[in-house]
């Protein structure tokens, strides 16, 4: 059969098509549902060579076969998983994954989802950024955490892990700074505030919209300010989507912007930036009533046109 309709009298509706139907219904991709779902942390009862995985809900894409859709998984308790002993002289990049198992597909064994730690290959110079030596992600697995295991280390700590959980309903966050005018004399883009207006996001490769709500403040005439964003510490070629200048001193002007990016799937740092337009000083107002807001929103829709 090459063309089928679901929920038709006399036609079977196997699990695979039910999962595909859920995947196609829109607004969901592989990922966790809530902010704390499947969050991996160092062992709460004392750091050792194991990690705790928080309970939660998620959707795992079934890669095995074709049109097997998204599988819903649930965990109702903290699960502890062992991490292999560190290598004596080389660091290693391990991954915590949630695996969907279904003997009818088949992939892993049994029909119960599993939480697993995939050990990487010990590799000189491995970091959380370069992920050198990491194992290939098996089918039907959702990556939730990278763990860097330094050589000779005897415990896993939060500072050696990176949150890799994708977001089932798309990444979304509002970052806000409410106190203190910020200023720069640099005409090159500078991160506005690395503490409040910079964050790491796991992005699936769907388009993502970045918005900055900002008010420029000209203390003296023609000070001016440009605003933009960094992805992974650098411009992506789209410089200064927001810009303002006033011929009046003590003038407030809109310096915000909206930009849409199509990122490479993976973990990315996004930061709002600003720069001076001239040899003067760029200023952005920041107060409770006029906060600086950076909004990041993944858009779960096909990025395409009609032919």
């Amino acid at each position: 059969v090459t063309l089928v309709g679901d929920f038709v009298t006399g036609q079977p509706l196997p699990f695979q098509r039910m999962r595909q139907l859920l995947a196609d219904s829109g607004g969901v991709q592989e990922g966790v549902v809530g902010a704390g779902d499947f969050l991996v942390t160092q062992r709460a009862a004392g750091a050792n060579m194991s990690v705790d995985v928080a309970p939660g809900l998620g959707w795992i894409r079934i890669d095995t076969g074709s049109r097997n859709g998204l599988a819903h998984v649930a965990s109702d308790a903290v699960e502890n998983r062992a991490v292999a002993a560190s290598h004596v002289s080389l660091p290693r990049l391990d991954q915590v994954v949630a695996r969907y198992n279904d003997t009818s597909i088949p992939t892993g064994s049994g029909n119960v989802p599993t939480l697993e730690v995939l050990a990487g290959t010990p590799t000189s110079g491995a970091t959380l950024d370069n992920r050198s030596g990491h194992a290939a992600l098996p089918n039907d697995c959702m990556l939730v955490r990278d763990i860097l295991v330094p050589s000779g280390s005897t415990s896993v700590i939060n500072a050696n892990m990176r949150d890799r959980r994708p977001w089932a309903r798309g990444a979304f966050a509002v970052l806000t700074r409410t106190a203190g005018t910020v200023s720069t004399a640099s005409t090159s883009p500078t991160v506005i505030d690395a503490t409040t207006l910079q964050a790491r996001f796991e992005l699936s490769g769907s388009p993502a919209r970045i918005t900055l709500n900002a008010v420029g403040w000209n203390a003296t005439a023609f000070d001016g300010v440009t605003t933009g964003y960094f992805i992974d510490g650098a411009d992506d070629g789209t410089t200064a989507p927001g810009q303002t200048m006033s011929s009046s001193a003590s003038a407030f002007t809109n310096a915000g912007f909206t930009a849409t990016i199509v990122p490479v799937p993976g973990s990315h740092t996004l930061a709002a930036t600003f720069a001076a337009l001239t040899g003067g000083t760029a200023r952005l107002n920041s107060a409770t009533t006029t906060p600086l807001r950076m909004i990041v929103e993944e858009i779960l829709r096909p990025n395409t046109t009609n032919n």
């Binding site: 110079g125 950024d129 370069n130 860097l148 500078t190 203390a219 510490g233 993976g266 000083t281």
Partner: protein, 113 residues
């Protein structure tokens, strides 16, 4: 948040702003450390410690020049606050050196055992 790691063991030596980590790396020895949390695996090579520190120093100098030139007391005070925050970055890097050196020595001793 940027991190600094031992080049041999990948042990964590410090966390903070990129400028703080570059300043710390200067004191520990660039060849003995690697930066982490400053790139992604998709665009390796974009992080330039020299550019980070040059921009940081140019920004400090630029703000100092503006503070000296302005006649507006509010603007002067606001910019001097920013300059003070820059000075704290230098101070923090200096404070981190002892702990980072010790962490590096311990990690390397552990590997040699």
């Amino acid at each position: 948040m940027a991190q600094l790691r031992d080049a041999v063991t990948s042990e964590l030596l410090g966390e903070g702003s990129p400028a703080t980590m570059v300043l710390l790396a200067e004191q520990l020895g660039r060849d003995d450390v690697v930066f982490d949390g400053v790139e992604s695996e998709h665009n390796l090579g974009t992080f330039d410690p020299d550019a980070v520190i040059a921009a940081y120093r140019a920004e400090t100098d630029g703000l100092a020049a503006v503070a000296a030139a302005t006649t507006d007391p509010d603007v002067k005070a606001e910019i001097q606050q920013t300059i003070a925050a820059h000075a704290e970055i230098e101070q923090l890097a200096t404070e981190l050196v002892a702990g980072a050196s010790e962490a590096m020595e311990q990690a390397r001793a552990r590997v040699q055992e």
